[in-house]
Symmetry: C2
Subunit: 498 residues, 2 copies
C-alpha cells in the first residue's frame, strides 16, 4: 500500500520550518496517529519530489531524518517502508546478560545464611546495636535544629568529601587518639561498608587479590566478590594475624593490600598489641602495600588500656583507616569516614563523587551537632557500661555452662566474641538445634573465604540484654552438650555436605 | 647482647596458662617495656631450655608464637633477634600504587571545569534546584514525625532495597504514568548518580564499552571512567539519538548497554517522541542489550503532552529506569530509585548490599511521609509554574538579544536548554568573557566523550530567577556578539589549546 501523499508545505515563509523538516513532520504525525502503520510503503523520493514539487535532495533529507529517528527503513530495490515499531505480541522475553561479577554476587546470595527463628529467640547472632539504647530524641532535636537553621543549604548537594563540621569533630577525636589527621584528610561515607568498597577500589582492579584475615568480617567477602577481587587468607593465631603469613602474602605482586581489624576483631573480638601493630606496619611498608584498618568499633572500648591504632602509629602513610558511627551510635544515619593521605586522599574525593556525588548533608550536619554538644560522648559512656555488664554475664555464663573443651576469647570492647567447640562439630549444622533451643549465633564458616565448615561461632552482645544472654548461652550450652554426647554427625543432617 | 633470662614460670597450675605461652608472654612484656630492643639477641632454644628446665619443643613453640607475632626473627646460623619494629627516623616515604582506574579519575579531575566567579554572577551553568523553592519546613516536620513515631527502628540498618513505604509511593506514581512496576521492583539509591553507577555495574566489567548519547550528562562520563568503562558515542540529531548509529553501535559485542535520557535530555533539554522510543526499544531488544533510561527530571514537565517513558513502553524487560528526587524536590535527601526486572533486579539488591548495605531509613521514611501527604505534588505544582515562567523569559530573551545564527532548543520540562553558536566559536574559550560579563554557562565540550571543543552551551533555569535570567542572557548575548565581531580566536586566549 502506497502511503498518502497529501502534504501541505509552507515555502519561503520567513523563519518558518525548513521544507525537509515539514515533510518529515508530516510522516511522523501520520505514523504516530496510526494512519501509517508498520510495513506501509512510502512514495519513492522521485515520486514525492514530483507530486510536491520540491527538490529530490530535500525529500532525501526528510527520509534521512525519518530513518535516523527509527520511523522508516529503506530496503534496497524494494522501497522505503514504515518500520515495525514493536514486534507483534507476545514479545519474546529478553534476558539481559549480567556482568560476570554480578553473577558471582548472585551465587554468593544463594549460599547466604538466612536466620529465621520464632520471636523471642535470643539474638546472639546479630551485630545490630540495641535500639533501646539509641539517643533518638536527642538526635531528632539535632536534625530539627540544623534543618530549621540552614535547611535550604543542607538540602542542596553536599560536597563529595562530606559535611565540614562533622569532619572537624571526627578529626579532633582521632587526633586525641594519637592520629595526625585534619578535617581535610577525611572523607565521609555511608558507614564503614561504603568505606570498605571505596578503599578497595582505590588500590585494585577486578582480578586483583586482597589479603584478609581468616576468619574475617563476612561482608568484606561480599564486597570483594562484587568488585571482582579475590581474597588471600592470612590466618589469625591467638587473635592476631600471623605476620609470617602476611609477609609472604604481601610479597606476591597480585596482592594489592591488606584489610585488617586490629581492634575488636570481627568475628573474634580480639585486639592486637603495640608490638604486633608496629611489626605489621613495617611489613606492609617493606612490601609497598597499603593497609586498610577497619576501626569500626574503635569507640567501644569498655575494659583494658587503649592501644594506638595502626593509623596513629603509621609514619609513612601506609594506612587507610575506616571509622563508622554504626556500632557505637546507630547505623541508620549511615555515616562513617575514611582517613587517607597523599594521592590516595586526592583520588578518594573524585571516586566518591563518581559513585554517588556525596552523602546527605542533613544527617551529617545533625550528627556534627550531636557530637559537638557532647551527646555522643554521653551515649558512649552509657553504651560502654551496658556492654561491659553484658560481656561479663556472657563470660560468666560460658564458664558456668559450657562443657569442657569449649574455649572463647575475652574482648575488651566491641560487640562480639568467638567460641570454639571441640569434637569436630560443624557449627553450621548446630544452628537449627540452637534455634529450637531458643538462641541464634553466627556460625564460623561464613567468616571464611572458602566457607569450609568451622567449629567456631561468633556470639554478640549487641542486641541481647543480660537476662537474654544468660538464657541464650545456657540453652546453647545444652545444645553443645547434646551434640558432643551424640558424637560427630558431619554431613548427614539436613542435607548439609561437608 | 644476650637477653635477660629471668623467667618465672608456673607449671602444672590447674587451668593456668600453658608454659610456652608464659615464655612468649615474658619476652613480649620485655619488648613492649623496652627492656629488649631491636637487634637484641635471644637465648638459643637449647640455652633457654636448659636454664628454665623446660622441654626444647616448648621453647620452640614459644619462639614460634613470637615470630608469628612479628616480635622476633631467626636468622639461620646467627641466632634469634628482636625484630626492628619500625625503621629509625626518618621513615622512607610510602607512595601506594593506586588502581589504574583511579589514575584515570585523577586525570579526569585535572581537566574538570571549575566555575569561579564573583558573587552575583548569574548561575546559568548549574542544575542545582533553587533552594528558595525547597519545602524545608514541611520536610522538617516529616522527619520529626517519623523519628518521633519510630525512631528506634529507623535508626537501625534499613534493607538494601530501601524503605518499603517510599517504594510503595514511587511504584504508585510510576504506575500512574503507565509503567508496570510494584514496590518490590524498585531499589532506592543515593540519587540517580548512585543509580547510574549500580546500573552500569549490573551489566559490565572494566574494559567494556557503553553506548552513550553525545552530548550526554557529564557525570556519566565520570562514572564510566571510575568503573573502567569506555563510552561509544551515539550522536544526537535534532534532539534524538540517531537510531541507525545506535543499531550499529549495539551490534558490537564489546558494547554492553545504552545509557539514554529520552525526557528532558541533559544537556539538550529535548525529548524524544513515541515512535522513536518504540524503535529504540526494538533495536535494543534485537541487539539483546539493555537500556538504562535516566528519567531524572521526569516529574518536571511544565508544557506539552507527556510521552510514555521507555520503561512504560517496554514489554520485554529491556529497560532499567532511574529516577531521582534531586531535581524535582531537592538533592540533599540523596534519594533516587532504580526500577528493574528479572535477574537484573535479583542482582541489584545484593549489589547495593555489597556497596553500602543500604541507604538511610530516616530520610527515606520522611520522604515517604512527605509524598503520601501530598506535599510532593503541591511542590511540583509550584516548581513547574516557576520553571515555565523562567523558561519563557529565557526563550524571549534569547530571541530578543542573540545575534543571527544562534539557535536553541525549546524544552517542555526540566531545567536546561541548549544553545548553539555560529562562527566556530569554542564556548570553553568564551567562558571567561561571560564571567566578566556577569554570567556563567556550561560549555559544550564537557558533555562530549573526547572533550573536543564545542560551539554549544547548556543554559539552566534551575537557580536563576526571571530577572537574573533576563540579565544573564542579555550579558551573554553581548559577549557572543563581541566574539562574532572579533572572528574566530580558537586556541589563543588564556593558553587554551584546541
Amino acid at each position: 500500500m502506497i502511503a498518502a501523499m497529501a502534504i501541505s508545505l509552507e515555502r519561503g515563509a520567513d523563519g518558518g520550518q525548513p521544507v525537509y523538516q515539514q515533510i518529515a513532520a508530516h510522516f511522523r504525525a501520520e505514523i504516530e496517529a496510526g494512519r501509517l502503520g508498520a510495513g506501509d510503503r512510502l512514495p519513492t523520493i522521485r515520486e514525492l519530489a514530483r507530486t510536491t514539487g520540491v527538490n529530490r535532495d530535500t525529500v532525501a533529507l526528510a527520509y534521512d531524518e525519518l530513518t535516523r529517528a527509527g520511523l522508516i527503513e529503506a530496503t534496497v530495490g524494494r522501497g522505503t517502508f514504515v518500520r515495525t515499531p514493536v514486534r507483534t505480541s507476545p514479545p519474546p522475553s529478553f534476558e539481559p546478560v549480567l556482568s560476570p561479577l554480578v553473577e558471582r554476587i548472585l551465587d554468593g546470595e544463594r549460599s547466604r545464611v538466612r536466620y529465621a527463628a520464632p520471636a523471642g529467640t535470643v539474638p546472639l547472632h546479630s551485630l545490630v546495636p540495641d535500639p533501646s539504647l539509641y539517643p533518638v530524641d536527642e538526635f531528632r532535636r539535632a536534625v530539627n535544629r540544623v534543618l530549621a537553621e540552614s535547611g535550604g543549604d543542607l538540602l542542596r548537594y553536599g560536597t563529595p568529601q562530606g559535611d565540614p563540621a562533622l569532619r572537624e569533630e571526627l578529626a579532633a577525636r582521632l587526633s586525641e587518639a594519637g592520629m595526625a589527621v585534619a578535617a581535610d584528610g577525611l572523607v565521609l561515607t555511608q558507614g564503614a561498608s561504603e568505606g570498605i568498597a571505596l578503599a578497595l577500589r582505590l588500590f585494585t582492579v577486578p582480578g586483583d587479590v586482597v589479603a584478609v584475615e581468616e576468619p574475617t568480617y563476612h561482608n568484606v567477602l561480599g564486597a570483594l566478590a562484587a568488585l571482582g577481587l579475590r581474597g588471600s587468607p592470612v590466618p589469625m593465631r591467638d587473635g592476631e594475624p600471623d605476620l609470617v603469613a602476611l609477609e609472604r602474602t604481601l610479597e606476591r605482586s597480585e596482592v594489592k593490600l591488606f584489610y585488617t581489624m586490629p581492634t575488636f576483631h570481627n568475628p573474634l573480638g580480639t585486639s592486637t598489641g603495640l608490638a604486633h601493630r608496629r611489626a605489621l606496619l613495617a611489613i606492609a611498608a617493606k612490601a609497598g602495600k597499603p593497609v586498610i584498618e577497619d576501626a569500626y568499633e574503635m569507640d567501644l572500648r569498655y575494659a583494658g588500656k587503649p592501644v594506638p591504632s595502626l593509623a596513629a602509629l603509621d609514619e609513612r602513610g601506609v594506612v587507610v583507616q575506616l571509622f563508622s558511627f554504626s556500632k557505637s551510635l546507630f547505623p541508620g544515619a549511615r555515616v562513617g569516614s575514611i582517613a587517607a593521605r597523599g594521592r590516595a586522599l586526592d583520588a578518594l574525593v573524585p571516586l566518591k563523587h563518581a559513585t554517588d556525588l556525596g552523602g546527605s548533608p542533613v544527617l551529617q550536619s545533625a550528627l556534627a551537632r550531636f557530637v559537638a554538644s557532647g551527646g555522643y560522648d554521653r551515649h558512649l559512656t552509657k553504651v560502654r557500661r551496658a556492654l561491659l555488664a553484658r560481656r561479663d554475664v556472657l563470660l560468666e555464663t560460658l564458664a558456668a555452662e559450657m562443657p569442657d573443651g569449649v574455649t572463647w576469647t575475652t574482648p575488651e570492647g566491641g560487640l562480639q566474641l568467638w567460641v570454639e567447640l571441640p569434637g569436630e562439630i560443624d557449627t553450621a549444622e548446630l544452628l537449627s538445634d540452637a534455634v529450637r533451643g531458643g538462641v541464634l549465633f553466627a556460625p564460623g564458616f561464613q567468616f571464611r573465604l572458602d566457607r569450609r565448615p568451622s567449629s567456631g561461632m561468633r556470639l554478640s552482645i549487641a542486641l541481647a540484654d543480660e537476662a537474654q544472654i544468660r538464657r541464650g548461652v545456657t540453652a546453647l550450652a545444652g545444645v553443645v552438650r547434646d551434640r558432643l554426647r551424640a558424637g560427630p554427625m558431619r554431613g548427614v543432617e539436613e542435607g548439609v555436605t561437608v
